[in-house]
Amino acid sequence: MEKTVKFFKKPITATLIAIFCGFLVATVILAVSGYNPFEAFGALLGGIFGRPKYVSNVIIKSTPIILTGVSVAFAYKMGLFNIGAEGQFIVGAVAANVVGIVCDFPAVIEVPLVLLAGVAAGALYGGIAGWLKAKYNINEVIVGIMLNWMALYFSNFVCNVERFHKPESDGAYAIHESGFISFFTNWKTTEAAAEFVQAHPFIGDILRTDANAGILIAIALTFAVSFLLYKTTKGYELRAVGSNRDAAEFAGIDVGKNMVQTMLIAGALSGIAAAIAIAGNNPHGITQLSAFESNGLNGLSVAFIAGGSPIGCIFAGLLFGALLYGGQSIQYVVGAPSEIISILIGTIVFLIALKDMVPVLIDKMGKRGVK
């Protein structure tokens, strides 16, 4: 009994319980609406694992939200709620796109340039929110939301500027090919490639997608952030301020400076997420937005599901990406509205919020046995 109690007290257990209960709720809603939940979940699994192409697309879809998740988780360690990740993502995309259009260098320079543009724009945008919070103590949630909207309209504005606007489309020009980080972009379209694909259907299927190096960059960055947080003095300071501002201040740590630095890094992470998307996925350029694409907003959910742990964001991001991508199959195969996935995710996040209750409940239940 004691071992069971201990298992249930681990933080990851609460997360798994939340995910499980989320599926339960989704099952009930589907059943009540007249759909077979097991068929729906079967379609979901098929949509994720059915073909190598699907798995590749899941990874591609997960890459940006892993990074925005890390962005949110990182800021949360500091006690800051980076809802502005969406705006940082958007400006990162704009910067990456513009730089990728204006500059035309060989890949070895172009790729870092494009990625750094995303980093710089995202960092700047995040820094604004951090500075406003440090200097004027303005709630970063409100500022983040306002900046998100401003970024959206700004992106559309740039999209329509003549220099960047791609004729007969609602987007901008793609970046120069030298900036691409997708695998074998040109070779994919050759005849030799076609033969290869015939002979090796598995890899061939993957090559049909935008498979790119983004996931590797994302994982590397995640580990770097984790190292920063737990092994360096800067990470110590950030966590101290996030946990107890007053004590950190009394110990001589500069709270305001650390706040701005945190938001700069968080913004940079969201910014590079966007740059990776531009460099890695078609159409390699921004498009007219009528609403948020939610890469940043989904980062919030990813960070919460990951329990605020940067490494956890890798798994949470993959889970999320899988649900989002595979969820499209539900509507296709079973006919149920694909919003059920959003409901599923919303429920999971809601239950995650309650997870502090789990150890308390388990304590009480454990005691019922002992009298």
């Binding site: 406003l132 939301i145 329509n160 609403a291 409901i343 429920t347 809601f350 995650i352 919020a353 209750m357």
Partner: protein
């Protein structure tokens, strides 16, 4: 010409402000009792859908408003359970509500309206104050009756909070729940009531859009009004009349984009569209100063915790 522009501006301002006013009043009430409610946007969206759907199927906009209020209240109940009984992180819970609200709205929309993400237009919208035949300047000012209702609600909330004993208790619970507890005031019941009411108000605010401004629910019916309502709460220093005025200012800046966007001044539409949001940030910098949030805002109350 001048008076036409002025009345047009006034009318559009009132029109756009009203949903946010309801949302903001809900935010004020919830936070005054000590519970942060970030989920206003989600509650408004769900309420907007419920209102449009009920309004379509019943043919009566007021039934729509009632259903919208219920929808908002139900979502708020979830938030209340999480925040008050489970002492969860109120910010995460609010974000979850913002995910669930629109998801549930579109999900049920598809079910109720043949797989479409838009509801069918209602036959009868909310009545306008000058009736349906107004012309000229009066047409500009012919806003729907919810504008008046919003003002009444704001005044009523001010009165209840600052002149009655229930308001006094709500304020006490938000400032020092332990003190209220020792005087026999039930902190949990008070907070539950305020959070659910804030959801009801948000739901009504959503219905104001889909039954008043337009006549149907779409995926972009509620696009940020809930968050601007939050900013209005802070800008209005957590006072009902302050939040009311703040919403008017935001509504005005949105009205400007509509009126000016007609081409009188050659500003790109996207830049104009940024105006309300830039204005919010500028105002927050200039006017907020010291935070005057209720002292116990966002802190779950636990008996006996020292």
């Amino acid at each position: 010409m001048m008076i036409n522009t002025i009345t047009l501006l006034l009318g559009v301002t009132l029109l756009y402000s009203t949903p946010m006013i309801f949302g903001a009043l809900g935010g004020v009430l919830s936070e005054r009792s000590g519970v942060i409610n970030i989920g206003i946007e989600g509650m408004m969206t769900f309420g907007a859908f419920a209102g449009a759907a009920a309004g379509y199927y019943s043919g009566n906009p007021w039934i729509g408003v009632l259903c919208a209020a219920l929808a908002g209240g139900v979502l708020a109940l979830l938030h209340a359970v999480a925040a008050i009984t489970c002492q969860a992180d109120q910010t995460i819970s609010g974000v979850a509500i913002n995910l669930l609200g629109p998801a549930l709205a579109v999900f049920f929309c598809r079910l109720a309206f043949d797989g479409s993400t838009m509801s069918y237009p209602v036959a009868n919208k909310l009545p306008k104050i000058f009736g349906s035949g107004a012309e000229g300047i009066w047409a500009n000012l012919n806003v729907d009756i919810m504008v008046v209702v919003a003002l009444l609600f704001a005044v009523a909330m001010w009165f209840v909070l600052y002149r009655t004993k229930w308001g006094m208790r709500i304020l006490a619970v938000g400032e020092n729940p332990a003190a209220a507890d020792t005087l026999g005031i039930n902190v949990y019941k008070t907070r539950y009531a305020c959070v659910i009411l804030s959801g009801i108000l948000a739901g009504i605010g959503g219905a104001t859009v889909t039954l008043g401004i337009v006549a149907q629910f779409t995926q972009t019916s509620i696009a940020g009004q809930g968050f601007i309502a939050l900013a209005a709460v802070i800008f209005g220093k957590w006072k009902p009349m302050g939040a009311y005025r703040a919403c008017l200012i935001f509504g005005f800046s949105q009205a400007l984009t509509v009126v000016l966007g007609g081409g009188a001044i050659a500003v790109p539409t996207e830049i104009l569209a940024m105006l309300p949001y830039v204005l919010t940030i500028v105002i927050l910098i200039l006017f907020v100063g010291k935070s005057v949030a209720p002292k116990a805002d966002g802190v779950p109350y636990v008996k006996g915790r020292r």
